[in-house]
Symmetry: C2
Subunit: 924 residues, 2 copies
């Protein structure tokens, strides 16, 4: 954790593989090798001794740029080049004020670490430049709610006491330290006990990273640390963990604390120690876990309501008249055959089970539940905004301005290429476009490829869905051809189950492919900064994965069974294959099966199996590879008491939060989009998330290198995606209730067509008559035992009966029900949207207490400064009076004194500032 002097903390580590040139290359003509070695050794000594930095980097070896070792093999030349780049880069780091320590490269090849320490003057300078807010001496009280709210809060705190993680907390929670961007001029404001610990580890490593990013190898095609890592000059760059995570002693480091109180499955019931997470991992990761926590908490009420809705369905199943009528053996509804020729007429009561199951999800409570969930989504987003604001306040992120971003290495490379190309072609025009940037025409091919490939991918998904449909139709037909009686009865179950599993597998495979494709596509686009890169990647990946996950569900919800045609006039996909119909209980049941299997399958396999398994596999693979490449020397070095940087190097690098968010967002989609058809979705999501939180936590604490801390005010584009899903869910649920479920026809029947206002006769009303003699030749059931007895068969649709003049046309009921369905969509959509807007408007984005605190903080800050200034003025005054007594200065002095009273500036030239600085010298 420290340099060899056990004093200076290691703030950052660069790791690289070196390969020494073999001896045969040494006698290069006039090679300044010893000199370079000396330079590299001097760098090592920089770490060894605490001398002034100025004398540590001698003048750049004059012979260095001219080095040309002609006989090097290409591989060695590359190594040589890398070595030079590393040396220059490290020299530049030392020049920037950092102190570095290197292990001597005493093997022919191997892993070496550059350990970086930032001394106080660098830290303070950078903190000022980065405007890092640091706590000042001033504390102020947080006004608490008075009266009942306070009482309630206390009770709540007491009740949740066992759920709170046991991490050290600020003693006085009512006080908040006033923070102010660090400024060396106002150093007296801050509570600096020890300069070594004033900036915590996360801040220190952040500062070092900023310097690393800014520094570049100027002499050799200007590359920053990003490019250096991309070019394999360095293997990795990472800050160090706080120590081991295992082992429990009294003075636990933060990593141990996190592991004990957060990153174990054993503490799944506890709240997350968000402040500690933020302190250790930075604001961006802190926000992710805060978001995940809030989402999980919000899933609790929706799960409860979901279970109640489901139970309501279970309880009312016995009193549901339509399913009773369907199951009633006396109501002999002879249904038209389900397939041509081989299928027989059948009795509706055989579909009794599905009808009853259907009722579980297709009842009025579902309508209530989907309104509830739409408002729930709005509430969740609102609460998140508030929590975000609260965290911003307590984490001192208010007023954080966007940091300037460095272009991505890929962008720089591309720009360089363009410059070179332009120079070659039009040498005379090159000075006109001084500040080059990639224009629209440069990016055109990238965009075109993007558009094309995304469209292709979406079509791929659709054809996969279509493929599964074809599979279902053909298999069903094949199974029904078979003369064996057993499979025929299980046809529907077999086909549905296998089809959904195929769907799931396709989704899982395509998901992985799409993730890679999205990344590749975004790289083609060459976005300028890391932030745009991330945003575009997220958008693309989300679009593809969304389509992939939901396409089969959309098909079942809105298309399946709509294009069947009618008996005697069926729609055929291929020759002889009829379009598939929904089960007699309605399509909602199938939607529910589809949804639950895909959701559960995705969660179980992708989120849990993959997330646990793949890192393990990767680790194994890396280990094997490492062992293969350097089998001999590993033991001599690694065996003797591995240092923290060695341990961290073995861990996986952190690759961003995108997959974590994506997983949750897709799940959020399952929870909200089709919630009308599957009220248990929130329950399963809740169960998954309780594991997910600890799984992610464990990953971050034990399996990943410590991520760079990133300051971030919000969760960025994810919020927009969430709110987009929320809005989409309103429309989709409206359609699911209106179109997919039987809610509207039932309502219509009860209030418009029923004779006595009850549901009796509903089944009969939804079935149309068909005259079997109108069946086309060759499609009649072949070997039906009771074909002779059947005059009319029934099918589910609102059509005119055979005896009407407009035989089999849509009946008036059809249009009336359709009107009602559409009216319901309009009503539902606008009502829920209005309610959402209302909720959005009623809940202020910034919690009232926080906005008051922010105002208070401002005024406290102004007071604090004014007081400081006042004291200064007093001191001056007393000094002047003191002075007067002593020196009895003349007219000139008194004039100046008066001026210093008015605004303590005499002449607005640099003279005054100059003097104010030099004063330290003269007065002390």
């Amino acid at each position: 954790m420290h340099f060899r002097d056990s004093k200076r903390k290691v703030d950052y580590v660069l790791a690289y593989h070196y390969r020494k040139r073999l001896a045969r290359h040494l006698p290069a003509p006039g090679s300044p090798e010893p000199m370079r070695r000396a330079a590299s050794l001097s760098l090592v000594s920089n770490g060894g001794m605490a001398k002034g930095s100025a004398e540590l980097h001698p003048q750049e070896p004059p012979g260095l740029p001219g080095v040309q070792v002609v006989e090097l093999s290409p591989l060695d030349a590359l190594e040589e080049e890398k070595q030079l780049q590393r040396e220059e880069y490290e020299r530049n780091l030392v020049e920037a004020g950092l102190e570095i320590e290197k292990d001597p490269e005493n093997k022919s090849q191997g892993l070496s670490f550059v350990r970086i320490h930032a001394p106080w003057q660098v830290l303070s300078r950078e903190a000022e430049l980065l405007r890092i807010k640091m706590p000042t001496k001033k504390m102020y009280e947080i006004t608490e709610e008075g009266g009942i709210l306070k009482k309630l809060n206390e009770i709540w705190c007491k009740l949740t006491e066992p759920l709170q993680p046991q991490v050290p907390r600020q003693e006085n929670t009512n006080m908040k330290t006033l923070s102010y961007p660090f400024s060396r001029e106002k150093i007296y404001l801050y509570n600096i006990k020890d300069k070594d610990t004033f900036f915590d580890n996360a801040t220190r490593s952040r500062i070092v990273r900023e310097i690393l990013k800014r520094t570049s190898t100027k002499a050799r095609s200007s590359m920053g640390i990003g490019t250096l890592i991309a070019n394999n000059v360095y293997d990795a760059a990472y800050p160090l963990h706080d120590g081991e995570y295992e082992g429990k002693n009294d003075a636990m480091n933060e990593r141990q604390l996190l592991y004990q109180e957060w990153a174990r499955y054993g503490v799944f019931y506890k709240f997350q120690p968000i402040d500690l997470i933020r302190k250790y991992f930075g604001e961006k990761i802190g926000l992710y876990f805060a978001w995940l926590g809030l989402y999980t908490e919000f899933l609790i009420p929706s799960s409860v309501v979901g279970i109640i809705v489901f139970l309501y369905g279970c309880i009312t199943i016995e009193s549901d008249i339509p399913s009773k009528e369907m199951c009633d053996q006396h109501n002999a509804f002879t249904m038209c055959p389900l397939c041509d020729k081989f299928c027989d007429y059948w009795n509706l009561s055989t579909a009794c089970a599905t009808a009853r199951a259907s009722h579980l999800f297709d009842n009025p409570a579902t309508v209530f539940f989907s309104v509830f969930m739409a408002l729930w989504a709005t509430m969740f987003l609102e609460q998140w905004k508030r929590l975000q604001m609260r965290l911003c306040y307590f984490w001192d992120l208010t007023g954080l301005e966007e940091e300037e971003e460095h272009p991505r290495p890929e962008y720089e490379t591309k720009l360089l290429q363009k410059k070179l190309k332009n120079k070659n072609i039009t040498a005379e025009n090159s000075n006109e476009g001084e500040k080059e940037k990639l224009t629209w025409s440069d990016r055109m091919p990238g965009y075109a490829a993007n558009l094309g490939l995304i469209l292709f991918m979406i079509m791929l998904t659709c054809s996969a869905v279509f493929g599964v449909i074809v599979y279902r139709i053909t298999t069903a037909a094949a199974l029904s051809f078979s003369t064996n009686q057993t499979p025929r009865s299980n046809v529907r179950v077999t086909v549905t189950a296998t089809a959904v599993i195929i769907n799931l597998v396709v989704i899982l495979i395509l998901d992985e492919i799409y993730g890679a494709v999205a990344k590749w596509l975004t790289e083609i686009e060459v976005p300028k900064t890391e932030k745009t890169f991330e945003e575009r990647l997220i958008l693309k990946a989300f679009l593809l994965k969304f389509v992939n996950s939901y396409a089969p569900i959309f098909y079942v919800a809105f298309f399946k069974g709509r294009f069947v045609g009618r008996p005697g006039h069926y729609v055929y996909v291929f020759d002889g294959y009829r379009m598939e119909e929904c089960a007699p209980g309605g399509c909602l049941m199938e939607l529910c099966i589809q949804l639950s299997i895909i959701m559960l399958g995705k969660q179980l396999i992708q989120n849990n199996l993959f997330e646990i398994g793949i890192p393990k596999l990767k680790k194994l693979f890396r280990k094997l590879k490492d062992e293969r490449t350097e089998p001999k020397e590993v033991d001599t070095n690694q065996s003797k008491d591995p240092q923290q940087w060695d341990l961290d190097y073995i861990l996986e690098p952190f690759t961003g939060l995108t997959p974590e968010y994506m997983e949750m967002i897709i799940q959020f989609g399952f929870v909200t989009l089709f919630v009308a058809s599957f009220p248990l979705a929130p329950v399963f999501a809740l169960l998954n998330n309780i594991i997910e939180v600890r799984l992610d936590a464990k990953k971050f604490v034990t399996e990943l290198r410590r991520p760079d801390t990133v300051r971030e005010k919000d969760i960025g584009i994810w919020y927009n995606i969430l709110s987009g899903i929320g809005k989409l869910s309103v429309i989709i649920n409206a359609f699911v209730i209106a179109i997919t479920s039987d809610f509207i026809p039932r309502l219509m029947y009860q209030y418009a067509y029923s004779q006595n206002g009850t549901m009796h006769g509903f089944i009969n009303h939804t079935l149309s008559y068909f005259n079997v003699s109108h069946l086309k030749a060759g499609t009649q059931p072949e070997n039906s035992p009771f074909a002779q007895d059947v005059l009319f068969c029934r099918f589910k649709d609102y059509r005119e009966p055979p005896w009407s003049p407009n035989q089999y046309e849509f009946s008036k009921q059809h249009w009336a029900v359709l009107s009602a369905r559409l009216a319901f969509v309009i009503l539902f959509q606008n009502l829920v949207m209005f309610l959402s807007v209302l909720v959005d408007w009623m809940i202020p984005d910034i919690p009232k207490d926080i906005s008051e605190q922010i105002k208070k903080e401002k005024s406290v800050l102004v007071d604090f400064f004014l007081k400081e200034e006042h004291e200064k003025l007093k001191l001056i005054e007393s000094f002047i009076t003191h002075d007067k007594h002593k020196h009895k200065s003349g007219a000139k002095g008194s004039r100046i004194r008066a001026a210093s009273f008015q605004g303590y500036h005499v002449n607005p030239s640099r003279q005054s500032s100059f003097t104010s600085f030099s004063s330290q010298h003269t007065e002390v």
Copy 2:
């Protein structure tokens, strides 16, 4: 414009009426009257001479608080109290560093002015406190678009040259001065040529106003300037205009410039000099005019498209088959009578004119136009966000933080009352709730009154609308009873015209009432700050005025003619009065008439007549009143060369932008909400706005006192209202097209019912048959000449014919058309909303060049500072070397020097800051 010394600028003026006590009150026992007079005279002399301010306010007269003049009459006691308050307030102002000048009160009563000047030290101190951004010496180049865009921009500039207002402009438009919050410590940064003109007039008056607001009469029940004005201690407080607006000479002041180039009808074609407006009136008013300008510009394309759509209607009128069929005398459609008993059967061809007129507004182009306008509204809002951002950048408002607001005087009064009450009741509990604020229970009555009254007002509006409906029904009936033939034919025209005019009058009257009610209601609520007051007032006023303006239009669009019943089974409002029907051409025509008359009437009468007339009347009234109250002494004082403060005092005070915005927002509603029925709305709005801009400008420049400049980053709640209207317009237009217009039935007929795919037979298809023998007894036409020949009459509805088994029930067509209508609503709404979101997403809120500029500005700023710091360090260095040579200082000095290199702070105590301040004394 200046104090009597013609040097110090008058930055602010307080005006008050004084009344001297008459002589008989003078001999009060032990009155320290002479002393007080002396104090007040010393205040006058403060203005008269430029001595140091410290000696100008002597110690507070010790006898003053004990003054008790027992024999004063109540009126005089009040006057006395006011006098004391004024004196204390002015003393406090002087203490705060302001310089004031007063006219001697040499008459028994009259108008007196307190003129306030802010000296440099006050200005600089306050500018620092308020963080007013001031231009520094540093300029930087604004990167321009390259290539074609630049060319296009140049051409555009050249083309619009004559439209540009001729105001002095920054010479080099490519350069922008870097601004930085004013800081006295960094005074060398700013380009201060003359301390008197460094802060412009608007900034000076803003600073003075801040001090005025902050200062209060502590001794006498702590009142700020707001409360003082509310209590009539002062009459008015205002900054001065820059001089006369008329007269044209070479060196025009800004007011003259504004008048010449902006506030005249003669320059209506020119762009607005937004920067000058902002400079003179402040950011808030500048934003209003910028918004109004953008809105007016955006109306141009929509007007053009609106005219084209209208012309399309005119051109296609001859080829429109339905109206041709209607006018065809050969198609003898015998229609059912329009009223019971007195009305006869009539032939549809008599309604030919309305059918043809209807086509003007009810054609497919209208559908296109309403999609266009929905996107237009989104585009407008997006562009406004961009323009706002651009202005923010150029006006240096980026990063402007919300200023802390002072509570409103009314709030303070209420709080005081509550405190007093609490003290009386529970004296022991009073120290518990230290920081009192109005709780929910205190505000409860206010909120309840609000809710109740708003509901009542809305009901009032609805009943007014209903009253007009009743008027229309009864008048129509009465007119049709009359045996005279002439009025009967004009019944519809007469009734519609008078009813709309009544509607208009009601709207105009209620508008005024609602404005007052909204204000009163908001005052009842006692909002804490001026900002919340404004927001709540706006919301309430908007709600009431919106309902008021649109209620009759909503009625015509969605309810009129829907609840008529059918022949033989009509719906009756009162005994014998049938619900009114739409004209045979469809309700859209009536909607169009209603809309156009209300919109034009409101604009002409309210916006223009009232806005021009009422201020004139008010002025006249004030003049008359002034003349009546002080008829004698006016001449002696006012006649001799009136000063600017006298002139400004006569002007109307500025009362906020709310009415101006409100007017425009209601107009925006007319332009977007029902645009499907009246495509010419944008044209009329455009014509109105061209006048409106100049009218408002004229008002601000010539008729109002100079408003206090207010810094504001955006237009606040108006933006939300605008975007709400935009969203509402999508839904309303969807319904207008689907339900009110005949667009869907026509489409349905053409593609579903027509035999040959043309519109021939459409009229016949929409008319149902009615067997006249089914008319109820007593409702048959009484003296119909051809009652014997008529077997069936026709009415406009889709119902089953008399010969169907389900006589007069809705037919299948009815339900099919209804489904199509509703499907259209869903499609239209979601499509347009999706397009709007897309437009919103595609157009970045911050223009790309501006966001780049902002980033650039930041980096320029950092560079600038670093350079300055570097120079400082160099100076120190050179000083130290210089010093070394001179003094040969010992070990202590060198240590300090080294420290100052590292971060120029030696010990983080106040000692160092103390020395840095005292340096000015020792070094100069």
